[in-house]
């Protein structure tokens, strides 16, 4: 695959991730907070094509699970009746993007069978549905936080680079202060200064703001250096000698160059911000239950018996890897197009 088509592919995938955040209710087979206390820690459901009598089914099917008597986390398949996977079944009602109501899902199986593609957690909630709904939390929080960080960086870096002298000195000293503390420690120290127990939605906003506030220093420094060098270019001097105002020079000559760097920084910063949210939620300092953040879904693994017995609880974390790879590819494209200006 050529470089540019790979870049286009990455952008399409990225759009798909955020589209699935909007369409989460439809794509996920179950409600993310619906509990099945009798199906706690069920392993990923096995898909079958051949039934007990050796007959081949064209449509994959599953069997209903029955708890083995005397245990609480061992299940047997009830082989008496296959439940084929159906497209567009009726199920739990939801609202797309909090607006459009619906109760059709992309796929599912009839009750009482359950389709746990990635297994279930200690309350018997479907991990796959929680993962899909989690795209509304973690990737979105990361994107918002990175946007906040880069906009603050753009303003501060722009002002520092453009006005120079004392303003520049003061602002860059502050940036240095922020960067003197390792970012995760700074993040946690800031988080510590804010209330611990919060409504999930408030916690979400708070996490976005805290991560954004911690991350502005590096983009600000980069933007500053770009603005500083753009300010002394010949074409800017020429524009000034024609009598161009500060605002015009900023808008026409300085900003376009700074925007390229800022956008590249944004794509670079998002994975870090997503990881910051996941880490905070993992430690119980971010978005809390029952909202499914990719971080608090992993939190169960902190208990030894969960880690030792239920390996599928670890699966949601792996969703981060492809997402990060997509962002790296997008960063690469933006860097080549906007900063190096090569096709």
């Amino acid at each position: 695959m050529s470089r540019s088509s790979r870049g286009r592919f990455a952008v399409v995938l990225l759009a798909a991730v955020y589209a699935s955040a909007v369409l989460a209710g439809f794509l996920a087979p179950y409600d993310p907070v619906e509990q099945n206390r009798l199906l706690a820690f069920a392993p990923p459901t096995r898909l079958h094509l051949v039934d007990d009598s050796g007959r081949l089914h064209l449509r994959p099917f599953v069997y209903a699970l029955v708890p083995r008597p005397g245990t609480f986390d061992v299940y047997d398949e009830d082989r008496s009746r296959p439940y084929p996977i159906r497209l567009f079944p009726n199920g739990a009602s939801y609202r797309l993007a909090a607006l459009i109501p619906g109760d059709r899902h992309l796929f599912g199986v009839d009750e009482p069978a359950r389709l746990f593609l990635m297994g279930s957690d200690e309350y018997g909630r479907d991990l796959f549905s929680r993962l899909i709904h989690g795209t509304q939390i973690s990737p979105v929080a990361g994107l918002l936080a990175a946007c906040l960080a880069v906009s603050v960086g753009l303003v501060i870096g722009g002002v520092a680079g453009f006005y120079g002298s004392v303003t520049d000195q003061v602002l860059m000293r502050v940036a240095e202060l922020v960067m003197a503390v390792p970012w995760l420690y700074l993040l946690l120290a800031l988080r510590a200064a804010l209330p611990l127990a919060l409504e999930p939605i408030h916690a979400f906003l708070l996490v976005v703001v805290v991560i954004g506030v911690v991350g502005w220093a590096r983009p600000a420094r980069l933007v500053r250096s770009v603005v500083l060098s753009a300010r002394t270019r010949d074409y800017v001097l020429a524009a000034r000698s024609f009598g161009a105002s500060d605002a015009r020079v900023l808008r026409r000559h300085v900003l376009p160059e700074a925007l390229g760097v800022a956008l590249t920084q944004l794509a670079l910063l998002v994975p870090q911000c997503i990881l910051a949210e996941v880490t905070l939620s993992f430690f119980g300092l971010g978005v809390g239950e029952p909202l499914p953040s990719w971080g608090n879904m992993l939190a169960g693994v902190q208990r030894f018996h969960v880690l030792a017995s239920y390996w599928w609880m670890f699966l949601p974390g792996l969703a981060l890897v492809p997402l990060f790879l997509i962002y790296y590819a997008v960063t690469d494209v933006l860097h080549r197009r906007l900063v190096l200006r090569s096709p």
């Binding site: 503390v181 120290a189 030894f304 880690l307 974390g317 890897v321």
Partner: protein, 323 residues
Amino acid sequence: MTRYLVTRAVHSCLLFVAVSALLFLFTELVPGDFLEELRLSPAISASALNTLRERYGLDAPLTVRYWRWIQSVVRGEFGFSLLYERPVGPLLRERAANTLLLTVTATVVAWCLAVPIGAWSAGRRGRLTDRATGVVVTALLALPDLLLALGLLLIAVRVGGLPVGGMTSPQYSTFGALHKAEDVLVHLLLPACALCLAILPTLVRHVRATLVETLDAPFIQAAKAIGVGDRRLIYRHALRAAANPLTSLLGLSVASLLSASMTIEAVMSWPGLGPLLLTAIQARDIHLIVGVALASTCFLLAGNLLADGLLYLADPRARTESR
């Protein structure tokens, strides 16, 4: 040399003081304090609570508290941890030593791996093996430290044989000196491995990129023309010329090293600064929070200073510039 380093050191000290003031003031703005939970208990009267608050000095105005804190910093105590009921300073020193053990081990191992891998990859630039290394490195880069730590734990639990979490065995105090060291080493294996894998991909990428650039330089072409062998070319000539950017990288990577270490320590319950900070936050133990953040800042500044010093030794150009 001394003058250059002293300027840098003074700068770092000033930065440290400013960070400490900001962190202290910011965390003191917290609504609620350490005694928050006691207030909810019906067994404790309001007057008893007030007495406690007075004894811990939580009722004093901000300026007084800050002045008292500064005094205790001068004594080396860095405030008083209400959670552990002892001065913060000694507590920090214990935990910081553990973090140092973990991070230094991981850094040394990572560099010992990154330089040969990067050099090998740069020497075979464009070939299939180079590209394969690139793919593996990118995959590792996309694997966040949290997942690395959890994944290694998962593997250790499945395979067995390695201790899962902690720094010492329960019967540690009964061991002899040699056995003690061995015990810590065995416990160190897993977190050090995770931390090493967390920082390795960035290092390999930079080593490779720097060497690729250096290998294009005219003096390398000349050396190649004389007939200098590949290995000697890379390790004797190219690597030495690439010392400057690589040393700068050492300084720059300290920040991400410490952050990765914090996550890994917390997940693998390595008794370093990371878990201490999390406990302090849950308990609202403000002096401890500030203390841990300052200790990590101290590490970061010291790491940068060390890199500056090494740069000074490694690159003659840095010496002439600073004069």
